[in-house]
Amino acid sequence: KQEVSYNAPELRLMWSNGEGARAVPLAGHVGFDSMPDQLVNKSVNHGFCFNILCVGETGLGKSTLMDTLFNTKFEGEPTQHNQPGVTLKSNTYELQESNVRLKLTVVNTVGFGDQINKEDSYKSIVEFIDAQFEAYLQEELKIKRTLHSYHDTRIHACLYFIAPTGHSLKSLDLVTMKKLDSKVNIIPIIAKSDAISKSELAKFKIKITSELVSNGVQIYQFPTDDESVAEINSTMNSHLPFAVVGSTEEVKIGNKMVKARQYPWGTVQVENENHCDFVKLREMLIRVNMEDLREQTHTRHYELYRRCKLEEMGFKDTDPDSKPFSLQETYEAKRNEFMGELQKKEEEMRQMFVQRVKEKEAELKEAEKELHEKFDRLKKLHQDEKKKLEEKKKSLDDELNTFKQKKTAAELLQNQAQQAGGSTTLKRDKERKK
């Protein structure tokens, strides 16, 4: 019979779910202790994915460090200093080590720190990180989704390259790290640290750490809650920021070929812990905490992004009476609100048109009225004219009549006279006939 003991911190998840659960002893080997192996097998079959973002000024050896960390030559030309803004370039590689397949994406900031005005330098980095969260969120919200085969592009670790000035952090560094610390796991490293002497380095590290603390920058802490790695992680935490040197060149030391940088005064061995913290970085980043970095990204940084985004869109977990909303209710409410908005807009537009039509009609009616008035006036004028003309006509007619009468009378007289003369009988007849 096996003894069962349960320590609350070990059973973080189960405790919340294990209400009313009773512990029972097992009378033999059941076999569920293979569950971690089953899970591991599934993960190995599925393959792993890891995304690193390197932030730092041009020329700090970001690409070289990546090559050194992963023992391979990644793509890329060294960048010039004349970039107009900060762009992010990402490359994805399929790596394999024994039976473990890793899809590694390395994202580099191109042109960081090269501009005269660096106020907006951090913006494209933040936008890039957010864009990866957004893509994941969109996938998660789809009705028909395929999360288990989704290629996760969210940034799991951000290596922040600090220039080896030996003095303090640049304000660009502080500003940028402050903007990034709630979005990504930041691991600050001192680049090209072979330019600094050991004593200067110690002071530099202290200065950097205190500046980070006093500015409230949250860098990634190697987790100390799991007893199997608590000790090494807590020791390493005290060595941050790691002072690294990168090199893909090999030099013969003794009878081995080692990665090193050769100077006239000596050789800096990359993997010599007395020379630099490269081994510590590799240990922490890859061999011990890679999975934790992925987990933190998903459960902390992504959840924060998601929460903010949903709240921005007006989603809430409970209504004003503190009753929890079901997903259905939330969507329906959103949808109704949305449809209402659309309808309102439509109505508004229609109303506006009706108004315009009314106004225009009134305008045209006015114009029509004016036109008719104008012509009414003209008509009146015309009628007056006509009347005058009629009068003139009448007077002329009168005159003509008078004249005619006069003429007739005169002719009558003449005829009479001629009749009296006698020789105009014919003429008179002619006249009469006329």
């Binding site: 033999g28 076999g31 789809k142 009705i143 199997s228 045209l364 029509e368 036109l371 004249f403």
Partner: protein, 425 residues
Amino acid sequence: HTERPQQQKNLEGYVGFANLPNQVYRKSVKRGFEFTLMVVGESGLGKSTMINSLFLTDLYSTDYPGPSHRIKKTVQVEQSKVLVKEGGVHLLLTIVDTPGFGDAVDNSNCWQPVTDHIDSKFEDYLNAESRVNRRQMPDNRVHCCLYFIAPSGHGLKPLDIEFMKRLHEKVNIIPLIAKADTMTPEECQQFKKQIMKEIQEHKIKIYEFPEIDDEEEMKIIRKIKDRLPLAVVGSNTIIEVSGKRVRGRQYPWGVAEVENGEHCDFTILRNMLIRTHMQDLKDVTNNVHYENYRSKKLAAVTYNGVDNNKNKGQLTKSPLAQMEEERREHVAKMKKMEQEMEQVFEMKVKEKLQKLKDSEAELKRRHEQMKKNLEAQHKELEEKRHQHEEEKASWEAQQRILEQQKLDASRLKQNKKVNIFIDQQ
């Protein structure tokens, strides 16, 4: 940002990410595991005994009696949660049983409480997943359903078929032949063949082992597939057989050993359910059954009242993206509507203006005409007058001449008269 296609890289020297599986292992042990197993079948088929045998524990005992011992009038769905630990691995095991299932005279819809339970767990998970503030989500969904078939030797009962058809798209069903020690191997073989035939006929989808690359493992899996459905025997008692203490059932003619592969398929069931495929059962529940539930639920919500045929192709969008697209469509529609209205408006205005213009032109024309008319009349009148004046003038002139002639004639006459007179004298 710019992205290049993926490239294969060969590493020189050890990097260390081969340690990732260990990291995953370590974290999973820390988190602990959970599994929900549902057992369904008529009472008396040995379900509780099977659970106790599988998990080597007295999950069901006198203090916590199994479903058959709890007399129920209607089908209930009940949960028992136990915490077990083995080799440093913690497992929260939830057993869901259904006392009363199939025990009534009229068993119509006796599966309803079961489907309701499964759906309600899916609903809980969906709501938890959809919250704005999400905590770690406990997984209470039913990962596996052991369906106990009575060892009649003939075939599936109508209730068996109906139940499996109702549930095969909601949960991983593993059908088991219960109390297999009541059949001979030949009878059992026959029975299995019949059952599988009926399962295929009714297109019931029972849990299938996933294909894997390893040829050796696949051989084993294929052998198991040939033995489906598994015929099992369970026991709460330990018996000594040939010096070994084994779980078994003591008969006058011998002992039926639970873990003897030649006696029954219990070991296969245990190995498959617990030792090799427990994780896969959870994965299939999460990736297939839950997703089916979720997409149906969300499609119903968002397309309430909208023609579903129109939206069939858009299920790959999230409801929010859907609304976003609808918003864009609406903006386009409004723009078009605005344009159309504008056009109609312009046209009508143009028409009216034209009409007005025509009206004006017409009136103008008429006015001109009347004016011309009047002018013509005026002219005519003038001419007439002029003519008359001329006529009058000429007539007056003529009259004057006549008058003069008359005068002259009369004077002449007068003179003549005078002359005559003079002459006479």
